[in-house]
């Protein structure tokens, strides 16, 4: 008898509506009780797991799991000529790939709108947060610099890829070791010393937090793919450790009042603390193992 | 509520403007009690206890209680009972597919012509123009046209004869042309004798004695859209003097 009561407590009316036939009704019946179909509270994030340095051939890498959503980030450093506008700076080229593997909604071929919008978002966040000072990537002013290709690949799409991408990117950048480059004075050719590597300095620990608005009023954090398609608006807030906002990205959808936005921002700052702690912990354990 | 809406008749309203039903009204003891129901025409809709505008345009009123928004539009959205000029694009089995300028093609059964039977099929070819009215027109179903009225008569509908010119104007102009006592129509009547078929979908077909006259009428109608009554009459007079 006790088993039955346990079963019924979190599922009050939801058993009456069918998930496949009426997904929106199904979700509503849960949200009415301030919980979600996967047992989370409204502002709870899914379990985040992080693996740093998973790809040995890359200069830096990280694998992030946010519930089922899986993003792997590999960083490849190449030598390049700096741009004319910024001779004393290197540059970072992020790219988000959503292959058909990760979800049935993506087709093979050139990147779709969602992938391109995500790439642009990551690029904007890197630029506005200055997570890495691009001056650090300069080797020889006006002649040689590092370019970091950050490839973010989604392996399993279950919503909220932006959060996962930002965590993966930050962790991978923290893991990046660049070889030392000296310039031969006689031939003026660069010489790469693969033995001696240096760590990239992370200036800002940026973390993003995504939210969805259900039925124009209910705010939920860290949406799954199903929740994303059923909701009426999305919002992503990126903050750093000094509680400065790097991005408040809301690409349309239903309107949001200032108070709700404040709520999201304060949730995002606590999320920032959690993730920064997680990254530090994993980075520490990786170092210990080496 | 009724009076608040009525006060704004003739004003330009924008999407998002709303009227609330709550407004208390004085009940007159002498006047007969009228029903407070408001009938929403195009551009207005009910949202809970409010009346919301969802198209931009001028608020219009028709006694006793019909309100609608008179808006400018170019793309036609079918409505039941409206007559349109369509182009037959395909014959498939028992039905013709008719393009009327909307989001999908309408179907027109060969049996819905006057006097048509299973044996006696109407002579309709791909590319022909038809004047027909909507029997079914709603957002969830394929629109269906018929070329007979409810008593089985053609009533002016059917396939067009040879000659004539088809052109497109805005839906606003079409509505003005079809309005009772339309001043554009009466101005035009004084100009040349002509045959004029006006479809609610913004298509107009004209035929008159010579090709030149047909072209003049077509050009006049297309330019009449953005003119004031004065300008139009001036232009019509000029044409008349030039023609005779």
């Amino acid at each position: 008898a006790s088993d039955v009561s346990v079963l019924w407590l979190p599922l009050p009316r939801s058993l009456l509506t069918c998930r496949t036939a009426e997904p929106l009704e199904y979700h509503r019946s849960f949200l009415k009780e301030n919980c979600r179909p996967d047992g989370r509270e409204l502002t709870e994030f899914r379990t985040t797991t992080l693996n740093i340095g998973s790809i040995s051939t890359a200069d830096g890498s990280a694998l992030v799991k946010l519930g089922n959503t899986t993003i792997i980030c590999g960083i490849k450093a190449e030598l390049a000529n700096p741009t004319v506008e910024a001779p004393g700076k290197g540059y970072i080229v992020p790219n988000v790939d959503l292959p058909p593997l990760c979800s049935s909604r993506f087709r093979p071929g050139p990147p779709g709108e969602e992938a391109q919008a995500a790439s642009q978002f990551i690029a904007d966040v890197i630029e506005s947060s200055e997570v890495i000072k691009t001056e650090d990537l300069s080797i020889d002013r006006g002649k040689l610099c590092w370019v970091l290709y950050c490839d973010l690949m989604c392996l399993d799409y279950d919503g909220n890829i932006l959060d996962a991408c930002v965590i993966a990117l930050l962790a991978a950048l923290k893991n990046t070791r660049l070889p030392e480059v000296t310039i031969n004075k006689e031939t003026s050719a660069p010489e790469v010393n693969l033995e001696k590597r240096w760590e990239l300095q992370i200036h800002k620990h940026l973390v993003s937090a995504s939210f969805c608005i259900f039925d124009d009023s209910i705010l939920i954090s860290d949406p799954t793919a199903e929740e994303e398609t059923l909701s009426t608006a999305h919002l992503t807030v990126v903050t750093d450790e000094d509680d400065r906002l790097c991005s408040v990205h809301k690409p349309g959808g239903t309107s949001l009042s200032g108070e709700r936005l404040q709520e999201c921002i304060s949730r995002a700052t606590t999320r920032q603390r959690e993730i920064q702690k997680l990254i530090a912990k994993v980075a520490h354990s990786v170092k210990k193992a080496q | 509520m009724f009076s608040t809406v009525r006060e704004r008749v003739g004003e330009v309203l924008l999407p998002g403007d709303e009227f609330s039903f709550e407004a208390e009204e004085k009940i007159s003891l002498t006047a007969p009690v009228k029903s407070e129901k408001v009938v929403c025409g195009p551009g207005l809709r009910r949202c809970g206890d409010r009346l919301v505008v969802f198209k931009s345009g001028v608020l219009r009123h028709k006694e006793p209680n019909v309100f609608w928004i008179d808006s400018q539009q170019r793309r036609y959205v079918p409505a039941k009972g409206e007559s349109i000029i369509g182009i037959v694009t395909a014959k498939s089995g028992d039905v013709f597919k008719v393009d009327f300028g909307g989001s999908e093609q309408a179907s027109l059964s060969y049996l819905t012509f006057e006097g048509a039977t299973k044996r006696n099929r109407p002579n309709v070819q791909v590319g022909d123009l038809v004047f027909a009215q909507f029997l079914i027109a709603n957002k969830d179903m394929e629109p269906e046209l018929v070329c007979i009225d409810s008593s089985g008569r053609a009533n002016g509908m059917g396939v067009f004869g040879a000659g004539g010119l088809l052109f497109r104007v805005s839906l606003g102009l079409v509505r003005r042309l079809l309005a009772p006592h339309s001043d554009i129509r009466s101005d035009l009547e004084q100009l040349f004798p002509c045959e004029l078929v006006v479809g609610m979908n913004g298509r107009i077909w004209v035929k008159s004695a010579t090709v030149q006259q047909t072209l003049i009428i077509a050009n006049l109608l297309q330019s009449a859209e953005t003119m004031t009554a004065q300008q139009r009459q001036q232009l019509f007079r000029k044409v008349q003097q030039g023609a005779f």
Partner: protein, 235 residues
């Protein structure tokens, strides 16, 4: 379009804003200036100029058909070159804003196409795109639950807020934010930011925005029943 119609609609609605607290550049709008699309508009903010055209509700490709609402496609064409990743992200912002204000369920299984052609970019491009899009949708007579407007603010290095910045002001600024605000509730439909800023700065903008009602002007020009210019001012 006949020549006579062109004469009449030539920027007859240019508005000059001379407020001291909020400085918006001169802006203007013209509707139904193209003959082929079902709705068109051009919007000018200072030297930034965007032309918009809407087609629809039209037939939809089977692969893009949605059974209970219309499919909205937004294309942003840059002044030179081919659309790139930047335009894709702008398209996403404009599309989702339009989706929120349009009543797409009234035209199921049809397609709406909105094309935004950038004529000149002198800052505040995204907000100009949003304004042009709204005007074009209105001109097409599509069912909308509310209107919206776009506004861009820059925070300069000394913490001052500049509304409707030029390209030069944008470049010097520390942070740049674009909001879309709806006309019914005056709340935020879209937000897109660049650069870092504090919580206070953004909340100041949000609350400030609420205090000011949208500034709307309706102009009736000849037979055209509507010619409104809509903008929100930020204090």
């Amino acid at each position: 379009m006949t020549p006579s119609a062109c004469d009449k609609s030539a920027f007859s609605t240019m508005e000059v804003c001379g407020s001291l607290t909020v400085s918006l550049r001169e802006f203007g709008c013209e509707q139904s200036l193209l003959s082929r699309p079902d709705g068109s508009a051009s919007f000018v903010q200072g030297d930034t100029s965007v032309m918009a055209g809407v087609y629809g509700p039209a037939e939809v490709k089977v692969s893009k058909e949605i059974y209970d609402r219309a499919t909205l496609e937004v294309l942003v064409q840059p002044k030179v070159g081919l659309p790139s990743v930047r335009e894709r992200s702008q398209e996403q912002c404009v599309r989702e804003t339009c989706e929120a204000s349009l009543l797409l369920t009234l035209h199921p299984r049809s397609s709406l196409t909105l094309i935004l052609q950038v004529l000149h970019d002198d800052g505040s491009l995204l907000s100009c795109c949003l304004n042009a899009a709204c005007m074009a949708l209105m001109d097409a007579g599509l069912p909308m639950s509310c209107l919206f407007c776009g506004v861009t603010c820059a925070i300069s290095t000394d913490g001052q807020i500049i509304t409707d910045p030029t390209a030069a002001q944008e470049k010097e600024s520390r942070a740049l934010m674009t909001f879309a605000i709806d006309s019914a509730k005056h709340s935020v439909l879209m937000s897109s930011t660049k650069g870092s800023f504090s919580v206070h700065e953004v909340s100041g903008l949000m609350t400030g925005k609420k205090e000011c009602a949208p500034f709307q002007t309706n102009k009736t020009v000849n037979a055209k029943p509507k010619r409104p210019d809509v903008t929100n001012r930020l204090h």
